[in-house]
């Protein structure tokens, strides 16, 4: 049966042929063996080199901000729309932009693909002991061929951490669905790492986090990769009032991470992109996760990851808990 890539190419050909879209955003092979990078096709032959497989991919929703017109321009006609390849986590990002009035649902074409977890090449290399030359993936397990020996690893072992807690396997609604829906296996929430930190003493926690923030080089990759961060001009770029000084002292780092975490409180859909792009691997998921856990527990929001019309911090209930 046709692989996902061929289905995609055929769909994209159809979209371009009857002038339904002006741009298709997908993935293509990167420069290192297993890296996948975003690709933009304005016509069909540019889309030929696009592929779909189960390697770790970057997040595409953020590009919609630049590629689409302002919401004020209203609904564009059919041929000006942008098509985007969407997995479950991408869909949450797109929902976030729609709810924040940054883009209009009518201006995009969602090309949905089901996904039950992407492969983390670093984990495969660690299990293999060296850099894998060849990695092939089939139904349940992954075959990694190194220079000398190769290893068969079960997929569950090498799946990305963020996919272990994935809250949406494929887009809830889409214009085109490339493959039939898989069983939407509900993954239970795992806040164990966060509880671990909560059990530490205040001093240990401060040391743990100041050690993490010490490494932060303030490159803002976490902000630029996150769809919840869609401001026109970020508060960290505004000099009057200066919420954050350019100097990278410990107190400024606490300030930066506090503000960033609070700005995505109740808006973060746990896609894990900020952790992926961080050059010094700061566990930002634990920061966002703590706020998400509190929101779900305190304001009994069923799933804080799914963008709601009004954010949890944008409303209140009379019987909100009182003890602090």
């Amino acid at each position: 049966m046709m692989t996902m890539t061929e289905k995609m190419r055929e769909q994209v050909k159809e979209l371009f042929v009857n002038n339904e879209i002006k741009l298709f955003i997908g993935f293509e092979k990167g420069f290192t063996k297993f890296s996948r990078i975003p690709a933009f096709a304005e016509n069909y032959d540019e889309a030929k080199k696009m592929i779909i497989d189960e390697f770790e991919t970057p997040f595409l929703a953020k590009y919609l901000i630049r590629e689409l017109e302002e919401v004020a321009a209203g609904i564009v006609e059919k041929s000006e729309r942008v098509a985007i390849l969407t997995r479950g986590c991408d869909y949450l990002g797109i929902r976030r932009l729609i709810v924040d009035n940054i883009i209009l649902r009518e201006n995009i074409v969602i090309v949905g693909i089901p996904c039950d977890g992407l492969i983390d090449v670093k984990k495969a290399n660690k299990l293999l002991g060296e850099e894998a030359r060849e990695i092939t993936i089939d139904e349940e397990n992954v075959i990694a061929k190194g220079k000398t020996e190769n290893k068969i690893i079960s997929k569950a072992e090498v799946v990305l951490d963020r996919c272990r807690q994935c809250i949406m396997c494929e887009p809830k609604e889409s214009d085109i669905m490339l493959a039939e829906k898989t069983a939407n296996v509900k993954k239970n929430k795992d806040y164990s790492k966060i509880e671990e930190i909560e059990k530490m003493s205040a001093k240990e926690r401060y040391e743990f986090w100041s050690r993490q923030f010490e490494r932060c080089i303030r490159c803002f990759a976490c902000r630029d990769a996150c769809t919840a961060c869609n401001c026109r001009k970020c508060i960290f770029d505004i000099t009057e009032p200066e919420m954050l000084e350019k100097t990278v002292a410990t107190s400024e780092q606490f300030m930066f991470h506090f503000i960033r975490a609070f700005h995505v409180a109740g808006r973060c859909s746990a896609c894990g992109e900020c952790e992926r792009v961080c050059p010094v691997d700061i566990p930002l998921g634990l920061l966002n996760g703590k706020l998400r856990k509190d929101i779900e527990f305190l304001f009994n929001v069923e799933e804080a990851g799914i963008p709601s019309e009004i954010e949890p911090l944008g409303e209140f209930k009379l019987d909100d808990p009182d003890e602090w």
Binding site: F31, Q212, I217, F220, D224, E245, V248, P279, D281
Partner: protein
């Protein structure tokens, strides 16, 4: 040539640390970084490259230029206290070569930066040759190699149980003389050095034509810039991890009437890097900024200092979230022109 047993590396570091600050490669929460070390057992070897480069040691991200007292009434300005001696241990050959590029920027020319100069004079770089470069490295394209000695004071070539020590500069010789008891002279072993020197990287050679900067001159409005800039998210990741990027911002931190003036890294990829008073921005979108970054590395720097501002360490390639790759720019420009 001398020999240094792996076991007495930490006692070498302990001995050196009496009067110098030691920056060594250590693993912290799964990330290898070059950091000031106090307990020397934490020093580690299993990394391809540290997340931050040796630039951190000599041109730190956050550096105080001066302190001032009661700003507008009777202003007093104090320069910072002199810096201590420092040793960077466990640096990779490509990072050490990068320091030479920074020397061109900060030390050559009519104005030189005295803080950088002092740190460089008081600093020694002990490099460890690369045993296994990974898929991101392409230092061989800039006539460097996993065993290169440019920029380092001492280079250690690792073998199974000991390091072959090669002194490159006077400073290196002096250091070995001071701690002679830890080293053993084992005569010349060129074959170990050569085995590192002609080791090929996985990515292979990108073989940059010498006249690439001439070609790039006319390439200002090439559509290629628009293509790769479209992927770029505009974060400062690639510029901050790059050991050769030297752009910085000067900013004042005021505490009432006193305060200090500090210098911190800045990235040409940020939105407001070129923004002038009166809201005029010569490079408003990501296209101009991406072009500026690569033209600066491959054209402007070569025009001024006759060297390409890249050493192929592969950090920007590994860390870029969306795969904007300098080698891709070079190969594309090479073919197209």
């Amino acid at each position: 040539m001398n020999k240094l047993l792996r076991s007495n590396v930490s006692c070498l570091l302990k001995k050196l640390s009496e009067h110098t600050e030691i920056y060594a490669s250590t693993e912290e929460d799964g990330v290898c970084i070059l950091a000031k070390l106090d307990n020397y057992e934490e020093w580690t070897m299993n990394y391809v490259r540290t997340a931050n480069s040796v630039k951190d040691v000599f041109f730190p991200q956050n550096e105080e230029i001066m302190k001032y007292k009661d700003a507008s009434s009777d202003l007093k300005i104090e320069a910072p206290k002199p810096f201590k001696e420092r040793i960077a241990f466990g640096v990779r050959p490509c990072d050490a070569a990068a320091m030479l590029l920074l020397d061109d920027v900060f030390l050559k020319g009519e104005f030189y930066d005295s803080y950088y100069k002092e740190r460089r004079e008081k600093g020694t770089i002990i490099t460890i040759a690369c045993e296994k470069p990974d898929q991101h490295c392409f230092c061989t394209s800039f006539d460097l190699s996993p065993g290169a000695t440019e920029g380092s004071d001492i280079v250690l070539y690792p073998t199974e149980d000991f390091f072959l020590v090669v002194e490159v500069t006077e400073k290196g010789k002096k250091l070995i003389k001071d701690n002679a008891e830890l080293f053993e002279d084992i005569g010349a072993k060129p074959e170990i050095v050569d085995s590192y020197k002609n080791m090929r990287t996985v990515l292979g050679d990108v073989c940059i034509p010498n006249d690439l900067n001439e070609k790039l001159k006319g390439e200002f409005d090439n559509s290629y810039w628009k293509k790769i800039a479209r992927r770029c998210l505009g974060c400062g990741n690639c510029t901050f991890v790059c050991p050769t990027c030297h752009c910085f911002a000067v900013c004042d931190v005021a505490r009432g009437c006193d305060g200090k003036r500090a210098r911190t890294w800045d990235s040409c990829k940020f939105q407001d890097f070129f923004l002038m008073a009166g809201d005029h921005n010569p490079r408003p979108t990501q296209i101009e900024r991406t072009r500026q970054r690569f033209m600066h590395k491959l054209n402007y720097f070569k025009e001024k200092y006759d060297k390409y501002q890249c050493i192929g360490c592969g950090r920007c390639v590994e860390k870029c979230p969306v795969g904007v790759h300098i080698a891709d720019v070079i190969t594309h420009m090479k073919e197209e022109l």
